[in-house]
Amino acid sequence: MHKVLTAIATLLIICGFKSSATPKEKNISILSANDYYEFVYNKKTQMVEVKQKLSTSYYCNDFRVEIPISETYNDQVSIDNVDISVKNIKPEYSYYKDKDIFFSDERICYFRLPLEKKGATSTVTFEETVKDPKYFTSIFFSDDYKITHKEVVLRIPRWIKVELKEMNFVGYDITKTSKYDSGKDADIITYSINKLPAIESEANSPGPTYRVPHLFILTKSSNFNGTEVTYFNELKDQYGWYHQITKDIVNKKEVLKAKALDITKNTTTDMAKIKAVFYWMQKNIHYLAFENGMAGFAPEKADEVLRKNYGDCKGMAHLTKQLLCSLGFDARLCWIGTNHIAYDYSTPSLAVDNHMICALLYQGKTYFLDATETYIGFNEYAERIQNRQVLIEDGDKYILTRVPATTVTQNLDREKRLLAINGNDLQGTAEHLWKGEEKENILGNLNDTKIDKASEAFNKYLSNHNNDYVINNLVTSDVTDIDNDLKANYGVNFKNGVSHFGKDYYVDMDFRKEFTGSNIDTAERANDYWFYYKMNISRETELAIPVGYKVSSLPNGLSVQNDNYEFNIQYSNQGNKVLYKKTIVFKNPHLAKAKFVQWNNDIAKLTETYNQQLVLTAQ
């Protein structure tokens, strides 16, 4: 027998334990980063290009590790060279995959970079070319790792007009210096950044343009040796480019008209026709995201979207428009930036918008139709586009307006229960009503569930997954009807819903207890918290007092009101019944970090109020 060789023992271990990065924020930092950008004129293509050299030195603070490095590119941005200070690393190149995108021409260059021991530095330099300054829209200063020092240098020849907007600089150590290079007739602008924290990725956060320090680049125009090119000097230029892309799309009008007539064959009024088209779009054309070169900006032909039964937002907006137009309505394409983006059209740029919808101009009013919101009603608007600036096509001109800002009344979730005590059970009836985005949420989930499981899934939802809360005789309104509110009526038998001790009944009047335990960890959370939409929850429970009993203790109510939200709970004894009423309203779904402590206090009050019971005593 011989002593084992470690190598052999190692071979036996098949767990695939990789020397992968453990939490990165403390172990790895960026010691220095130097990003250089220069606007140059490519005489061959006769285009202005932006040459970039992005050099980052990663430092190992505590223990050796490999970190993933990646850089995206596409038809407009090429990676010309990758220099890695560690030998024998070969970058891989492939299409970028995202579960929410069916196909994207975005590509990714990636590799794993070793930091070979504590104190080691590994440097990566990407040399890239942006082939058209329109696509050069921003320079983000932060990274996945904290940065000790970073320099961002822009060399901007005076033959090109570029505006740099400094975004989210407050609170960071960023200084700017400028000098003029008379030899090259160019301004050299340098941003020196010290001690920049890592980007924190957290659910329900505002988009990065709201919170990460960055430069928003607005390339206005160029004049190289007398050749003038206007980029997005004003909004009309940006619209002009969009209009150029969209105006010449040729559709098979007869196909579209035939379909529109078929969709609206059972309608008589204009509004019925409009709704029929919008709801048909929502139900029959499914959203599939394509990002492919110019197709990332140009809508597909409407008749092609119709033939395929799927499309991205542009294709869906285009088909909605063309169907309505074929019926004689004035429908337009609209460009819009959702609330993920901090900018608006006061700063013309391709970074301003990320979505396309359809506008209907009808009898002096403008309605917006976004068929990608599959179950939202006509003239109802999802949080992400509410009150956002919208650019509506208008021939060679454009219309700049806003999608209406709706209030909480749009999104109602109301439940009313009439209950009585039977032994230890609570029995009675309930009626439920959902509107707006609440309705969209429920209908979306129901319709995404297999039909043979949908009833069971809805029962579980209504019973809060509590098998003691038995739903019976459930009757709903048509779950395919987007135009009307969603309603459900059902019987309730809450087994052991009542506690009986001695002469007393103890009853919990609130079955759902929304937001229990919704505290925010103030030590951990870095970003503001954005709820998905404005919420408007209403609960009412009416309990019949058993004959021979009286209310001996009525729980305390609650009233919390501030600019963001309201919690109201009331109990009242009304003759032979007890009435419980609760409303939870989110007027502003954006909860700023500064309000987290207040939020936690209010959630504690809400929880305390929830944890009370009504007492009925035998007379």
Partner: protein, 737 residues
């Protein structure tokens, strides 16, 4: 001549790829058209059905018909390779899958809305004398609209998610697909593989006879030329193939079934034990490298498996192994003590030494930083471990057997089909049989992991003085009784004086046997490595501390970082148990690492606060005492309706010793109602509640007696489950005196 030859190669290099690409595209389109004509040309009546039977419209989708056709021919070809003339095997294989499905809802529409496939993959090697390895996939889709109109989908609307010369991956969003349509599609993979090891001719299939949707017609047709040997099993009452021989000598295997029901999720099932399936293997005659590649058809699969293990042992003689025997001797003060030591003690030391060597030393000797709970999930291949331990046992002249077993989470022993289907363990024979299994670092000496308990095993008993020669027999691996697989929770609970709607819980958990489910998440290697080291090293022979190297310091830093994450794991364990996050978690720690059978229990503790257990009611408080056993999902009506046997993870006991301090000035009501006693063949439930002094004590214990119950026992099992379910929602009242 040579010059001309060189020029030809150069031209090929310069123009070859372009010409090939153009020709390749044309060839692909031509081939695609041929395949489409053949597949759509098949007018089998089941693929012409346009109307579903009554009631089927309530299904999300219905597979009207599906088939899998495989045609394979493998032949020898003379090749010039390795500077010599040799024989390679060329395999042509065409695999066609066709499905006709009625889409009844949006969920099914989403399921079928796109097809992803490896359009082409060319790994052909060599410039002139090529060794082919090409796989092309062709697809076809047609839609049958509710009015009967057929629409052939233009598959060239695909996008390529990988588009390299020799590697293309396609993705097609099905245009025009709507709810109410019938979608009839196929994928056809055409392979041309040449190799010198005959592996290109091998293929394995697992045909599960069912789906998430009901299937009206199901067919398998597999055809092989005479060079190919076929083995297959029909498990769990799956029907037999119809075997025929074609005029050219090809063998065909076909099966036609109708009206296969959809599968339904049920609690505690073992799919490959309870649902019919066919496992199928095709391989070339002369291949000996695979599990069932043998010529000798009279040899059963199990015999083949045994032979394979024997060969593995025979082969292993060539390798070096740790000298555990000498190592064990060092544990003792003298050779005399070593000889006098009981066999169980020696075996325990051997096992723990092996574990320390494999999971601690081997990792620590590597140049990287391997820390964190991820390291706890490392696995060692059982048969390598068995081989190494067997060497030592043989050397120590210990009477032992090698057991081969198929885990109860996979196929039965009679249905093992692939080499990886079986695991190996060791049984030490003596006055009392003991076991060595090799699942992970936390598996203990004489611990049989739950997936092997109660299973039939092949016993390989080594012949005397012959390490790799065995006698064969059968045995059943014991089921560990419920009393040895336990989770015991002790809780001291009090209402906070300042806020009586909030409670404080001091909780200590002890886990034993198969119930040790939290070890990997709550500890790091440095927590248990010293304990394991202690039990394999005699007290007076402890090694001196090694000076910390630079790598050692890095590991220490990484460990400190990983330890910060353990806090979250302790919180997550509590959240998972109670369905809400703990507040103010303190005093959390592992109390016993449970790394060795010397001290087998795993224990941990923590003190925390929680809301939502206490409701104020006037001057009184309702305490939801039943919730202290954690989240318990009561069985719903759908789960109650059961038609298959019950495969539970293990026999087990779960107990709670709960002490709730009665607040001063209050009395408890509702205590008697908590008490409950249940006992039947499947288990027991005991709940004993009483007030002693100022404390309400609730003793809850439930036992599931077996790891398997026949369907007939399901109602009895439900009695136990309902009993604990009822308790989980019970409350007591703290009434103001």
């Amino acid at each position: 001549m040579n010059k001309i030859f060189t020029l030809c190669i150069a031209l090929n290099l310069c123009f070859g790829p372009t010409l090939f690409a153009q020709k390749g595209d044309a060839t692909y389109a031509q081939k695609a058209a041929e395949i489409q004509a053949k597949v759509w040309g098949d007018k089998a009546p089941e693929f012409e059905v346009k109307t579903l039977p009554a009631g089927m419209e309530k299904e999300s989708a219905v597979i009207i018909a599906e088939y899998t056709n495989v045609e394979q021919a493998s032949n020898s070809r003379y090749k010039f390779a390795f500077a010599a003339s040799t024989s390679a095997t060329r395999t042509n294989r065409v695999t066609t899958y066709r499905e006709r499905v009625k889409i009844n809802d949006k969920a099914a529409l989403d399921d079928y809305s796109s097809l992803s496939y490896q359009k082409s993959l060319d790994r052909t090697q060599g410039l002139i004398n090529k060794t082919y390895n090409r796989k092309d996939t062709y697809i076809g889709v047609k839609l049958i609209k509710p009015d009967g109109k057929e629409v052939i989908v233009n598959t060239s609307e695909e996008v390529l998610t990988k588009n390299e010369d020799k590697d293309k991956r396609g993705k097609l969003a099905i245009p025009g697909l709507e709810v109410g349509d019938i979608m009839d599609y196929y994928t056809c993979k055409v392979e041309l593989v040449e190799d010198y090891a005959d592996k290109g001719g091998n293929s394995k299939y697992l045909f599960v006879l069912g789906s998430e949707y009901p299937i009206l017609s199901y067919q398998l047709n597999l055809q092989y030329n005479s060079k190919v040997t076929v083995n297959y099993i029909n498990a769990n009452k799956a029907p037999e193939f119809k075997e025929t021989t074609a005029a050219n000598g090809d063998k065909t295997y076909s099966l036609k079934l109708s009206n296969l029901p959809k599968y339904d999720d049920k609690l505690w099932t073992s799919s490959l034990r309870q649902y019919p399936y066919i496992e199928f293997n095709a391989s070339l005659e002369k291949s000996r490298g695979t599990f069932f590649g043998g010529k000798k058809k009279e040899m059963s699969r199990l015999d083949e498996a045994i032979k394979n293990y024997k060969q593995f042992f025979e082969l292993s003689k060539r390798y070096m192994f740790t000298d555990y025997k000498s190592d064990i001797k060092k544990y003792f003060d003298s050779g005399k003590d070593f000889k006098a030591a009981p066999q169980d003690t020696l075996m325990r030391i051997l096992y723990d030494k092996w574990k320390y060597s494999m999971y601690i030393t081997a990792f620590d000797n590597m140049a990287g930083v391997y820390v964190g709970t991820k390291r706890n999930k490392a696995r060692v291949q059982g048969r390598y471990a068995v081989m190494e331990i067997a060497h030592t046992l043989f050397d120590m002249e210990i009477d032992f057997d090698v057991l081969l077993v198929s885990p109860r989470t996979t196929s039965s022993l009679e249905n093992v089909f692939q080499e990886g289907d079986m695991e190996a363990m060791i049984r030490i024979n003596g006055d009392k049989k003991t076991y060595m299994c090799f699942d992970d670092v936390f598996t203990q000496f004489n611990e049989i992991p739950e997936q092997y308990q109660g299973e039939d095993a092949i016993v390989l008993t080594p012949k005397k003085r012959n390490f790799d020669k065995f006698e064969e027999s059968r045995a059943t691996i014991p089921v560990v009784p419920a009393k040895e697989n336990y989770l015991a929770s002790k809780m001291n609970v009090s209402l906070l004086p300042g806020n009586m709607q909030k409670i404080s819980i001091e909780r200590t958990i002890t886990e034993s046997g198969a119930m040790r489910g939290d070890q990997a998440d709550l500890m790091l290697t440095p927590d248990f490595a010293p304990v394991l080291k202690d039990v394999v090293t005699a007290d007076n022979k402890k090694e001196k501390k090694v000076k910390l190297t630079k790598l050692g310091m890095e590991i220490a830093s990484a460990t400190a970082k990983a330890r910060e994450e353990l806090t979250d794991n302790f919180k997550n364990e509590i959240s998972g148990e109670f369905g809400q996050d703990p507040q103010n978690l303190t005093k959390y720690a592992v109390t016993n690492v449970g790394i060795s059978s010397v001290s087998p229990e795993f224990g941990f503790t923590g003190t925390f606060e929680m809301d939502n257990f206490v409701k104020r009611a006037g001057n009184n408080y309702i305490f939801e005492a039943g919730k202290l056993i954690g989240l318990y999902n009561k069985i719903d009506d759908k789960q109650r309706d059961r038609k298959i046997d019950v495969y539970m993870p293990c026999a087990r006991t779960i107990s709670y010793d709960i002490n709730i301090a009665v607040p001063k000035g209050y009395q408890v009501k509702g205590v008697d109602e908590l008490n409950q006693q249940l006992k039947n063949e499947t288990g027991t439930l005991s709940i004993v509640a009483k007030v002693t002094g100022g404390s309400l004590n609730i003793q809850v214990s439930r036992t599931y007696a077996h790891n398997f119950e026949k369907l007939a026992q399901w109602p009895k099992l439900l009695e136990i489950m309902d009993g604990i379910g009822n308790f989980s929602s019970q409350k007591v009242l703290f009434e103001k005196i």
